[in-house]
Amino acid sequence: MFIPHSDDEREAMLRVIGVEKLEDLFRDVPAEFRFPQLNLPPALTEMEIADELNELAYANESTRDLACFLGAGAYNHYVPAAVDAIIRRGEFLTAYTPYQPEVSQGTLQAIFEYQSLIANLTGMDVSNASHYDGATATAEAAVMAYHNFRGKRTKILMAHTVHPHYRQTVRTYLQGYTDIIIEGDDVLGDALDSPCNTLTGQIDANTALVVVQYPDFFGRMYDYTEMVQAAHAQGALVCIVTNPIALGLIKAPGAFDADIVVGDGQPLGIPLSYGGPYLGIFAVKKDYVRKIAGRLVGETIDGQGRRAYVLTLTAREQHIRREKATSNICTNVGLIALASTVYMSLLGKHGLRKVAELCYQKAHYAAEEIASIPGFSVCSGAPYFHEFIVCCPTSVEEINAHLLEHNILGGYDLSQDYPAMKNQMLLAVTEMNSRDQIDALVDALKEFSDD
């Protein structure tokens, strides 16, 4: 399809190589396995595949067709047109990782700005060039903490209020570290307990890392200052998982003196895209810059003294350090980090606050309206940002099926991860939800009212 060789050219090239036909190039391949029949459908032209994919896409009901109140780690935000206009440019799209700084200053400076924006937004000193997503960034934080103590501290305390997928991912990543104990994420207790209460007492001299989320999986905000102090008093590190879009309005996790801040940058201008690619945020205090996972871009000068950017501290990485690297990550999510950089720049100080405010205000309006429906209550039990728990009179599944008939994509069924949270739904509201949509949601829920 995309091969430019004419028959004549192919012949001429084979002659230069000194073989007769293409098949001759594959003599090293065991003959009995050579040239298998692949069971693939016949090739389509561009016109045909465009048609087929239009149909597949059309078979979905997306958040363009439905009023979306689903969040739980992926959020429906407005992405300004300029974001895609920039990341579609072939210069960004079709470049490799910027190993050659002389011909990669575009990518390098953009990542440097990404690092700067993330550091400032999270209130941390240093951000890496990105990780795969929020879940894997959390897992890498655990790996980093473990290595920080050279394996001498083996306990990881992880709040149950951390996103279930993230907690599962941490466990998967750490299964080879047989000495590590992961505790704290008991989902059978009272899910609404504050991690400040549940975790602080468990921090001890064997604790490498305490992981909490802010706003937490339920959308709630806690002041972690004291918990962080308690951890530091025991010599443990603290990692805060955050939602960067909230940080336009609420205190940065850096202000709680966190050592590591991770999170998913999807809300920063990345389309939902059925779950990926998203953006793993990974920021640390200065002290841990040499322990950080993934790439870092640093400022320097060229031979003529001109400012220039280059990948730096590469001795941490797998291609130099191999099995002793701080992480195995190589390809990260550069283009998505760029998208978020453009997004953060476009919105800037004013817009980032505005979007966060809209999320906050609309969520609180929705919560209040829903709370006024007999049979429903908002049971978050703490201040929240743009997600809240609704206790429902019947199963979330039943409610969501009903909402779908009203073209509403309902909330997340918390009983999936927290068995005690039966009939509890996590609703997310963003700037994309008009008051009309919220009112329509409330009206649809009223049909379940036990009035």
Binding site: P4, M13, L56, N60, G90, E91, V103, A135, L313, E323
Partner: protein, 487 residues
């Protein structure tokens, strides 16, 4: 010209994209959570567009020129891929929607799993891993889970050839394994004696890249696999070089137990200046139960008139979840588009022409540059970047000098086992004219090294910046263009 940073062009009070005022009654945010300062830039939309457009042109890219970066498969990324991934039905669907509202997505993912299986010979595929290295970790964890499931707890080591990519040992280490190196022999294959010597009951597995990073197909691949299998280990295939094998040989047929794909190499999804990638993992039948949670499956079979109902399944002995949600869906759409446009015949043509191009370039260059393993190569080859007659000139200098001729340099100093390595992967989408210009240029540079070596030592000359001070970067560690006062 250096570009100012986004913070340097910021001006207090300037506003970019605006958002509406709240249409709901206001609730106050509790005082204790109110953020005081927000040290983010203040710029206009024009500022932003101009800034990033001007940054973009400082980059080299496939869309602007030849990018023969070994091990990276910098082939043409079809523009249709981009349009398809942005179809609203795909781009705006939420990962946690009820499955009956996203049958289009699931059908696409299921089909892609099947297609990758058909291409590789592995009966089960997980699309979840986010990149090659992530796929490696998953694969090694699967190997680990397999042994443990059989009660085989003594296997603590993974064998990795000395030519392997750095992610191979790093992934093994993260999975808790000790890494044992094995040598490459004079032909560029795994040294069988060395392999035999390290294989024993502590061997969990071997990570094999085939074609390896020398661009050579290991002719002993079956023996290698047999030796490891005989010791009770499993064999992991690093699929970064799969472009050479499409329709030529299926790793699953040869006896690999598990392998990752790089959709961002073989299947034309763009590399994006460093990702996002996508690194699905295929496994042989005995490992299917260990795949990451979840995989896409058919919940209710279709009929003559109705499509099946697709949904998620949870493999019985899964290693667990390896990231949030279900993998890099946007990349699946692109890879799906690409595979659909090529079909079985197209797959084989890709490999054939990738290999043709590499051998052609090698043939054109081997009189001028030393090619340490002189045999038919696969999709890439490695030569030595130095000249007897110009001892000061290094591979790095040749790489930089190529920039002056508007070529992206090959990968250099990898694999580690070749002296002053220049690793050249032409890809199948480049035409003979381009290859000839590239070969002519490398031959001319060899001549320049004779007559005017300084031209190489001081290269590049026409790029936006010259060679950079890497020591200063690591020493001064300026990693952020504006530190907020509050810290």
């Amino acid at each position: 010209m250096t570009e100012l940073t986004i913070y340097e062009i910021s001006s207090p009070g300037r506003v970019g994209v605006r958002f509406p005022e709240p249409d709901v009654p206001l609730s106050p945010l509790p005082e204790e959570f109110v953020r005081e300062d927000l040290p983010m830039p203040e710029v206009s939309e024009l500022d932003v567009v101009r800034h990033f457009t001007n940054l973009s042109v400082l980059n080299y890219s496939i869309d602007r020129g030849y990018y023969p970066l070994g091990s990276c498969t910098m082939k043409y990324n079809p523009k249709i891929n981009e349009d398809m991934a942005r179809l609203p039905g795909f781009a705006f669907s939420h990962p946690l929607q009820p499955v009956d509202t996203v049958q289009g997505n699931l059908a696409l993912m299921y089909t892609l799993q099947e297609w990758l299986g058909a291409i590789s010979g592995f009966p089960a595929v997980s699309l979840q891993p986010a990149a090659g290295a992530h796929g490696e970790l998953v694969g090694i964890l699967i190997i680990r889970a397999y042994h443990l499931d059989r009660g085989d707890t003594g296997r603590t080591r993974i064998i990795v050839p000395d030519s392997a990519h750095g992610t191979n040992p790093a992934s093994s280490a993260i999975a808790g394994y000790e890494v044992v190196n094995v040598k490459t022999n004079a032909d560029g294959n795994v040294d069988l004696d060395s392999l035999r010597a390290v294989c024993d009951s502590s061997t969990a597995g071997l990570m094999l890249t085939n074609p390896n990073t020398l661009g050579l197909f290991d002719c002993n691949v079956r023996e290698v696999i047999e030796i490891v299998h005989a010791a009770g280990g499993l064999v992991y295939g690093d699929g970064a070089n799969l472009n050479a094998l499409l329709g030529i040989v299926r790793p699953g047929d040869v006896g690999f137990d598990v392998m990752h794909f790089n959709l961002h190499k073989t299947f034309s999804t763009p590399h994006g200046g460093g990702g996002p990638g996508s690194g699905p993992v295929g496994v042989a039948a005995h490992l299917a139960d260990f795949l990451p949670d979840p995989v896409v499956t058919i919940l209710e079979p279709g009929t003559a008139t109705e499509a099946p109902l697709y949904g998620f399944a949870h493999p019985a002995k899964t290693i667990g979840r390896i990231k949030a949600f279900h993998g890099h869906f946007g990349m699946f759409v692109r890879a799906f588009t690409y595979i659909a446009m090529n079909g079985a015949e197209g797959m084989r043509k890709i490999a054939e022409h990738a290999v043709l191009n590499a051998n052609y370039l090698m043939a054109r260059l081997k009189d001028t540059y030393h090619v340490p393993y002189d045999r038919i190569c696969m999709h890439e080859f490695v030569m030595e970047g130095h000249y007897d007659y110009a001892p000061d000139v290094r591979a790095l200098d040749i790489a930089k000098r190529l920039m002056d001729y508007n070529f992206h340099p090959p990968t250099n100093y990898f694999p580690l086992i070749v002296h002053e390595a220049l690793m050249i992967e032409p890809t199948e989408t480049e035409n003979k004219q381009t290859l000839d210009r590239f070969a002519d240029t490398l031959i001319q540079i060899a001549e320049e090294a004779r007559t005017d070596p300084d031209l190489l030592k001081t290269a590049p000359h026409i790029t936006p910046i010259g060679r950079v001070d890497e020591v200063k970067a690591a020493k001064d560690l300026v990693l952020c263009c504006w530190m907020p006062d509050t810290l």
